[in-house]
């Protein structure tokens, strides 16, 4: 893509907005349309666009395959960990009502709001990394190998 300056410049211009939009969909998903899955896809779309225009090595620097592979697992852990936390706090699995805290009350979400926030965060992390890994699998000739 070295011969297409317009594409490179436009991509660089668009990149912050794509990422910002992804975060907006992620974090505003509590109040409006959106959520972890959509946000994850948008964020990954940004990464994939970067990889398409600037090459796979550049994307590998931003999102190293071994790290991305672990992020897939991390997202699932955030989701399931929220469920385990509610169990430890005396509720049932994923019973967000018991999720209370005393850190900046009124500013940070609590209860159901906090629960759905954490769960969607887990979904977002996993979806972003899965989409990126799928791109790596198709784009690279070598299998993605973290070990």
């Amino acid at each position: 893509m070295d011969n297409f300056p317009i594409i490179r410049v436009i991509t660089k211009l668009l990149m912050p907005y794509i990422l910002l939009f992804a975060f907006y969909v992620q974090f505003h998903g509590d109040f409006g349309p959106g959520g972890g899955f959509q946000a994850g896809v948008i964020l990954a779309a940004g990464l994939i666009l970067y990889g398409l225009v600037f090459g796979l090595p550049a994307l590998h620097k931003v999102a190293p395959p071994p790290a991305i592979e672990r992020l897939i697992a991390l997202g699932v852990l955030i989701y399931a960990g929220t469920g385990v936390a509610t169990m430890l706090l005396g509720g049932k699995f994923l019973d967000y009502d018991v999720l209370g805290h005393h850190f900046l009350p009124g500013w940070l979400p609590e209860g159901q709001h906090l629960g759905i926030f954490l769960v969607e965060l887990g979904v977002g992390v996993t979806v972003t990394s899965v989409m990126t890994v799928i791109f790596y699998c198709f784009a690279g000739r070598e299998p993605v190998d973290g070990h």
């Binding site: 991390l74 509720g91 049932k92 967000y96």
Partner: protein, 493 residues
């Protein structure tokens, strides 16, 4: 605290352990962690089974949302019975795994095996315990996707192709199931199985319900590998690594049979399925044709794994025969055969894994005379084969005897006769291998090989001796299965 959360813990312990495996760097550590998880899950499901037997079915509401709106987990006789043997086999197979994995899976891909294995287990357990129909689909996808990945890890270049074939067929099956669920949701406005059964009630005329039932039946028949829809199974079982074949052959199709029982008996009533629409005639016919075609095909195989794969298709036929009889004895025999076949086929595939380790091949011509150098492994095949045929004092006899008496009570003499005749086909394909193992001149590969290591023989014999134990002691298998059948026929779960 553990007791209170038991129904959900059984599913989430392997589900959480799977991603944790990715963070452990040391390969041995990952294996030990996965192994501990499997045995712990086995312990939890036995605990749950004991509790259900004591107090009756247990319901657990996820997120504390009341039942018809939230997702409900229901641990009853049938689900805990199936879960107990699925986790048991998962634990034994994983105990057996390390040597076999080293031989059959590329070392750079080892770190994928354990998380996938645990995810698959978690999905299978989820299908069993959930009382929410959409949840069944989600867990079916979890277990299927991870099993496609596991199958594709085989060393042979045909493994990814076999996994892809399975993926295409499995996805069609899952989609059909989802279409059926969607139609039922449109009809009743609920996804909770018990609530759905109440809402459907005695209304047997609705076209939507019939279409939903048709889609779900065909979808699950693909997953169960019922005769004309079985084409994905032989390749998938043949080219997957041995431990994956052992695990999937012993559990995945059984859990699909479980889901089928649930849908026919707990949601659509047997009256709707069998009396109004006559599904029993078709099921019996396809089961019998399947038994004969698959057993005959098994006789002509030259690959031991493929032989057992065809035999699996035949054995699913026996389960369906029992289920389609629509009475307590028949249903009991179907459920018992799920368990017995899981133990027998799991044990036999572990035997095959021992041969694969020492001889690097499971082609029958390479196994000639293997009893000279691998006496224990060969003897395990004999015992397992006797179970497969259904010789008295083995587990296979118990379920076939129950099926036979149920068929005779029903006055379906043709079914009973054909069933006995089909057992002779099993004698042929089992004996063919025994003859090769014991009465042939050893091949070059056999002469230079030795007995399989103890670390693999002990788990193999655990299942093989299980065949003998459950052939004599039936209060666990038949006892719980008849209780489960009674509960299923007595109304919704």
């Amino acid at each position: 605290m553990i007791e209170q959360h038991l129904p959900v813990l059984v599913v989430i312990v392997p589900l959480i352990a799977a991603p944790l495996c990715v963070f452990l760097f040391n390969r041995t550590l990952v294996y030990l962690f996965a192994l501990a998880t499997c045995w712990a899950t086995f312990g939890l499901s036995l605990f749950l089974l004991a509790k259900v037997l004591q107090t009756g079915p247990i319901s657990y509401e996820l997120g504390n949302w009341p039942a018809p709106y939230g997702i409900e987990y229901v641990a009853d006789y049938l689900s805990t019975f199936v879960m107990s043997f699925v986790t048991g086999i998962a634990a034994v197979v994983l105990t057996y795994a390390p040597r076999s994995l080293n031989e059959e899976v590329d070392p750079s891909r080892h770190y994928l095996v354990h998380p996938m294995y645990l995810l698959c287990l978690s999905g299978l357990l989820g299908i069993c315990i959930t009382g929410d129909l959409f949840n069944v689909f989600v867990f079916l996808e979890i277990s299927s996707l991870s099993s496609y990945a596991l199958i594709s890890l085989g060393r042979s270049r045909r493994a990814p192709l076999a996994a892809f074939q399975y993926l295409v067929m499995g996805t069609i099956g899952a989609t059909f199931l989802l279409i059926g669920i969607g139609l039922l949701y449109q009809l009743t406005g609920t996804l909770n199985m018990a609530d759905m059964a109440t809402q459907l009630g005695d209304d047997h005329g609705s076209r939507t319900m019939l279409v939903a039932f048709a889609f779900m039946t065909v979808g699950l028949c693909i997953k169960m590998a019922v005769f004309p829809l079985h084409t994905w199974l032989p390749n998938a079982y043949t080219y997957a690594p041995s431990i994956v074949t052992a695990f999937i052959a012993a559990t995945a199709t059984k859990v699909s049979v479980y889901a089928f029982i649930r849908i026919v008996y707990s949601i659509f009533t047997p009256q709707f399925a069998f009396d109004v629409h006559g599904l029993d005639v078709f099921l019996t016919a396809f089961a019998l044709i399947g038994i004969f075609v698959a057993s005959t095909a098994a006789i002509y195989q030259v690959n031991l794994k493929r032989l057992l794969a065809y035999s699996s298709i035949a054995q699913v036929g026996y389960m369906l025969l029992g289920i389609s009889m629509n009475n307590q004895d028949g249903l009991t025999s179907g459920i018992v055969h799920m368990f017995n076949h899981a133990v027998i086929k799991g044990g036999l595939f572990l035997v095959v894994g021992c041969f694969a380790l020492r001889l690097s091949s499971v082609r029958l011509e390479d196994l000639r005379g293997a009893s000279r150098t691998m006496p224990w492994t060969s003897f395990a095949w004999v015992l397992g084969g006797l179970g497969l045929i259904g010789v008295p004092l083995t587990a296979g006899f118990v379920s076939k005897w129950l099926l036979l008496t149920a068929a005779l009570d029903n006055a379906s003499y043709l079914v009973a006769g054909l069933m006995l005749l089909s057992s002779l086909l099993a004698v042929v394909y089992v004996w063919r291998v025994v003859e090769i193992l014991y009465f042939s001149e050893p091949s070059e590969a056999v002469k230079s090989s030795r007995e399989a290591p103890w670390s693999m023989l002990v788990p193999t014999y655990l299942l093989i001796i299980g065949i003998l134990v459950f052939g004599v002691w039936t209060s666990y298998s038949v006892g719980i299965a008849s209780q489960a059948a009674q509960a299923l026929l007595g109304g919704s779960p």
